[in-house]
C-alpha cells in the first residue's frame, strides 16, 4: 500500500516535471515573490515572468508565490539552510540589514562591476531615500523593485458634508484631529462613521507608528547600526499617545487592532472618512472607490517625514555562478524603467528607478492620475524603513504593545518601556558581538 501511493505520487511529480517544455541548456532559476498587494497582481507577476522567459531563451525562471512579506523571509531562510536557495527574492526592504548581518544574502557589487558600472552609477538610478535600505556597509545588497510611503486618503464628499475643504487636507496633527472630530458621526453611544482609521496589524502597525514618530521629529532606530531601537523616547511616546488619544479621548478612531484590509474596506464603504495607508493600495482604491477621494502627505507635528516601504530584489548566499548570473539578468530586467514603471501603474507603488518617470507612458499616466504623483513628491521627505538585527521579532515587540494600548489595556508610557526591554533582549547577541566587545578580546 505504501509503495503504491509513493509510486503514484512520484509518477505524478515526474509527469508534472516533464509536461513543462524547456529549451536545451536553459538555466533553471526561481524567483520568490510575496503578494504585498491585491491578489490580482500575483497573477500579473506570472505574466511578467512569462514575458521574461520568452525574451530570454537561455533562462527559465519560475515565479514562486511565497505568501506575506514575513512568510517570504521564513521560506527564503529555510531554503538557504536546506541548500536550495532561489536565484532572486522580492524581499521586504527592511529585512536586508538582518539578512546581511547573518550573511544570508550576498552583495552584488561584483556583478555590477562586471557590467562595467561603478557603484555610484548603479545606485544613482534610484531615488536616494531608498538607498539606506539597499546599501549596507557600502555594499549593494538589494535592488529596489517597488516602494511605498504611507499616505493620507480622504473622502471628499464627507469633507464637504462636514464643512471642510477637500482641496485642503489636514497638514498637521492638530488639523487632523480637528477634521477627524468633525467627520466622526455618532448615534447615541454608537459610532456610525469614524473620522480616521490607521492599520495596526503586524507589519503594518510598526510602519505607521514609525511614520508618526518621524512626523514627531523622532527616529525609530539607529540607521547606521542594527542593534539599537528608540522605543522608549519622548518622540515615540508623543506619537503613541497621539494615536491612543485619538482612540480613547477624542474617540474618532476605533479601538483595538485594525487590519489593513479592514481599514481600506471601511474607507471604501464610507464608514471611515480618512485613513493613513500605503500608496501600494492607491490603484485598488482608485478602481474601487465610488466617491471622489484625495490623497495627501501624512500630517506632521514637528516635521514632514515618512518611512519608505516596499521591497527590493536580493540574491541569497550559496548560489552557483551560473544561477547568480541568470538571477542578475532577471533582477535587472525587472527593475528596468519600463518594467518597474509598468508595475507601478498596475499597483500604485512608485517606481524606484527615476528614469521610469521620464517615459512617455508614465507621463501620460500621471497627467491622468495626479494622485499617483503625491507619493513620489513625498519621497523628498522619506527616510529609511526600520531595519535591525532580527527585524521581525524586534518589530513585533513594539506592535504587541501598540495593540494593547489601542485596546485600552496599557498606558503608552509603560507600553514603551516594556517594548524597549523586549527589543533590547532580542538584539543583545548582536550588540554583545559588536558594540560591546573589546576588539581582539575573545
Amino acid at each position: 500500500m505504501i509503495s503504491w501511493w509513493k509510486g503514484a505520487a512520484l509518477a505524478l511529480v515526474a509527469a508534472a516535471g516533464l509536461a513543462a517544455p524547456r529549451p536545451a541548456f536553459a538555466t533553471d532559476i526561481e524567483l520568490f515573490f510575496p503578494v504585498p498587494v491585491d491578489g490580482a497582481l500575483a497573477r500579473n507577476m506570472s505574466g511578467l515572468i512569462k514575458e521574461f522567459n520568452d525574451s530570454h531563451p537561455d533562462i527559465k525562471a519560475t515565479p514562486v508565490f511565497t505568501g506575506s512579506y514575513d512568510d517570504t523571509l521564513l521560506k527564503t531562510r529555510a531554503s538557504i539552510k536546506a541548500g536550495k536557495p532561489p536565484a532572486a527574492v522580492i524581499m521586504s526592504a527592511n529585512f536586508l540589514t538582518d539578512l546581511a548581518i547573518e550573511r544570508e544574502i550576498v552583495p552584488m557589487d561584483d556583478l555590477i562591476g562586471k557590467d562595467g558600472k561603478t557603484q555610484d552609477a548603479f545606485t544613482g538610478q534610484f531615488f536616494p531615500a531608498l538607498l539606506p535600505n539597499a546599501v549596507i556597509d557600502r555594499k549593494v545588497y538589494g535592488v529596489p523593485f517597488h516602494n511605498s510611503t504611507p499616505l493620507l486618503y480622504i473622502n471628499a464628499d464627507h469633507f464637504k458634508e462636514a464643512g471642510l475643504d477637500p482641496e485642503k487636507p489636514p497638514r498637521t496633527w492638530a488639523e487632523l484631529t480637528d477634521a477627524a472630530r468633525k467627520l466622526t458621526k455618532r448615534e447615541g453611544d454608537r459610532t456610525t462613521r469614524w473620522g480616521l482609521m490607521m492599520p495596526s496589524n503586524y507589519d503594518y502597525g510598526g510602519w505607521i507608528l514609525e511614520a508618526l514618530t518621524m512626523s514627531n521629529g523622532g527616529r525609530y532606530y539607529n540607521e547606521e547600526y542594527g542593534g539599537e531601537v528608540y522605543y522608549d523616547t519622548p518622540t515615540m511616546l508623543g506619537a503613541l499617545t497621539f494615536w491612543s488619544d485619538l482612540v480613547h479621548k477624542a474617540k474618532v478612531h476605533p479601538a483595538g487592532e485594525q487590519k489593513g484590509p479592514a481599514v481600506t474596506g471601511a474607507f471604501l464603504a464610507g464608514q471611515a472618512s480618512m485613513m493613513i495607508i500605503s500608496t501600494g493600495s492607491l490603484t485598488f482604491i482608485r478602481d474601487t472607490a465610488k466617491f471622489p477621494f484625495r490623497v495627501a502627505f501624512v500630517p506632521m507635528n514637528v516635521r514632514q517625514a515618512v518611512p519608505i516601504g516596499g521591497a527590493s530584489l536580493v540574491q541569497p548566499a550559496g548560489l552557483s555562478a551560473e544561477k547568480r548570473a541568470a538571477g542578475w539578468t532577471l533582477i535587472q530586467w525587472l527593475t528596468s524603467p519600463e518594467k518597474s514603471g509598468w508595475w507601478s501603474r498596475a499597483t500604485g507603488y512608485f517606481a524606484p528607478n527615476k528614469a521610469a518617470y521620464d517615459l512617455p507612458e508614465m507621463k501620460t499616466f500621471l497627467e491622468k492620475n495626479p494622485d499617483a504623483k503625491i507619493a513620489v513628491d513625498q519621497l523628498a521627505n522619506a527616510k529609511p524603513w526600520f531595519a535591525t538585527y532580527r527585524t521581525v521579532p524586534v518589530r513585533k515587540a513594539i506592535e504587541d504593545e501598540l495593540q494593547s494600548v489601542l485596546a485600552g489595556k496599557r498606558q503608552p508610557k509603560e507600553a514603551l518601556a516594556a517594548a524597549q526591554k523586549a527589543a533590547d533582549a532580542l538584539m543583545r547577541p548582536y550588540v554583545e558581538d559588536t558594540a560591546l566587545r573589546l576588539p581582539g578580546a575573545e
Binding site: M1, I2, W5, K6, A8, A9, L10, L12, V13, A16, G17, A19, A20, E30, P34, V35, P36, V37, D38, G39, A40, L41, A42, R43, S46, T62, P63, V64, F65, T66, G67, S68, Y69, D71, L74, K75, R77, A78, S79, K81, A82, G83, K84, P86, S148, D203, Y204, G260, P261, T264, G265, L268, A269, I277, S278, G280, S281, F284, K290, G309
Partner: protein, 282 residues
C-alpha cells in the same frame, strides 16, 4: 412533600428545553461564518455591502468563475487529495503498529519512550520547519509532494489514540488468538483493528482536515506552481498585506476549497459523530 413531588417532573421538562435552545444558539453562532461565506460568494463585486449577512437580490456566479479561472483548481484539488491520502495511508499503518507496541508489548523503557513520543505534541511546528526542510532536501524530496508528506509519517497523536484504544480491547481475545496460532500481524488485523474502527475513523478525520488546511509547511517545501496544494493556490490570489481584499472572490475560493470536506461531512455525518463519541474525542 407535594412541592418536592412536583418539582421533579417540572425540571425534567424545562432543562432539556433550555439545553436545546443553548445548543441551537451555539449552532447558529457557529454557522454565521459559513452563511457569510455563501452570501459573499454570490454577491456581485463592488456592491459595497461586504459585511452584510443579507443575500444579494441579484446573486451572481461571477466570483466563482473568476476564482476558478485565476487558479488551476482541478490540479490543486488533485495535489491536496494526493497529499492527504498519502499521509493518512502511512499514518494508519505507523500509528496502529506503534500503538500496538506501546499498548501490549512489554519491554524495558517503554514508559520513557512513550513519554518521549508524546513530547512531540508539545512542540510548536514552526521550530521544526528548518530541521525538517534540511532533512527533506537531503532525501532529495525538496519541491515534491512526498517531501510535504515525509514529516507526518509518524504521528504522536495517532499513536497515543491507538494505544488508548488498543488497551481497551480485552486481552483475552488476543490470548485466544495466540493459542490458535495467530502471529502478531494476524492478531492486529483480525482483532485489534476491527474493534478499534471508530478510533481509526476519528483519527482519519482529524488527519485529513488538518493536512487539507495546512499552509506553512507546504509553502516551505513546494516551489513549482503545478505542485501547489489548494491552500497555497488559494492564498496566491487572496492574500494581501498593503492592499484590500476582494471578499467575494475570497469567499468563492474558500467555498471551492472547503467543498469536498463539507460534502464528505454531510454524507458521512452520522458515522463521523458516532466514531468521535466512541473514541472519546470531543
Amino acid at each position: 412533600m407535594s412541592a418536592a413531588m412536583q418539582s421533579g417532573p417540572v425540571t425534567r421538562e424545562i432543562t432539556p428545553r433550555i439545553a436545546r435552545w443553548v445548543v441551537a444558539g451555539l449552532a447558529l453562532v457557529w454557522a454565521v461564518p459559513f452563511w457569510w461565506m455563501l452570501v459573499a460568494a454570490f454577491r456581485p463585486a463592488g456592491s459595497g455591502a461586504d459585511a452584510s449577512l443579507l443575500p444579494s437580490l441579484t446573486p451572481t456566479l461571477a466570483n466563482f468563475a473568476e476564482a476558478w479561472a485565476s487558479a488551476d483548481f482541478p490540479l490543486y484539488f488533485l495535489n491536496s487529495a494526493v497529499l492527504c491520502a498519502g499521509i493518512l495511508a502511512v499514518q494508519l499503518v505507523t500509528a496502529s503498529l506503534a500503538g500496538y507496541v506501546f499498548a501490549r508489548l512489554e519491554f524495558p523503557g517503554r514508559g520513557f519512550l512513550f513519554a518521549l513520543f508524546l513530547v512531540q505534541l508539545m512542540l510548536v511546528p514552526v521550530v521544526l520547519l528548518v530541521p525538517n526542510l534540511k532533512t527533506v532536501a537531503a532525501l532529495g524530496l525538496y519541491d515534491t509532494l512526498p517531501g510535504v508528506m515525509a514529516p507526518y509519517c509518524a504521528t504522536a497523536f495517532g499513536t497515543f489514540l491507538m494505544r488508548q484504544s488498543f488497551r481497551e480491547v480485552p486481552r483475552e481475545l488476543e490470548d485466544a488468538a495466540m493459542i490458535d496460532g495467530a502471529g502478531w500481524w494476524a492478531r492486529i488485523r483480525l482483532i485489534y483493528l476491527p474493534l478499534t474502527k471508530p478510533a481509526l475513523v476519528a483519527f482519519s478525520i482529524v488527519s485529513v482536515t488538518s493536512h487539507w488546511n495546512e499552509f506553512l509547511w507546504p509553502l516551505m517545501v513546494i516551489n513549482s506552481p503545478d505542485k501547489r496544494p489548494l491552500t497555497l493556490g488559494l492564498a496566491s490570489f487572496t492574500l494581501s498585506a498593503e492592499g484590500m481584499q476582494a471578499w467575494g472572490l475570497i469567499a468563492a475560493g474558500t467555498f471551492l476549497v472547503s467543498l469536498p470536506l463539507l460534502a464528505a461531512f454531510l454524507i458521512f455525518q452520522r458515522r463521523f459523530v458516532n466514531s468521535f463519541l466512541a473514541s472519546g474525542i470531543k
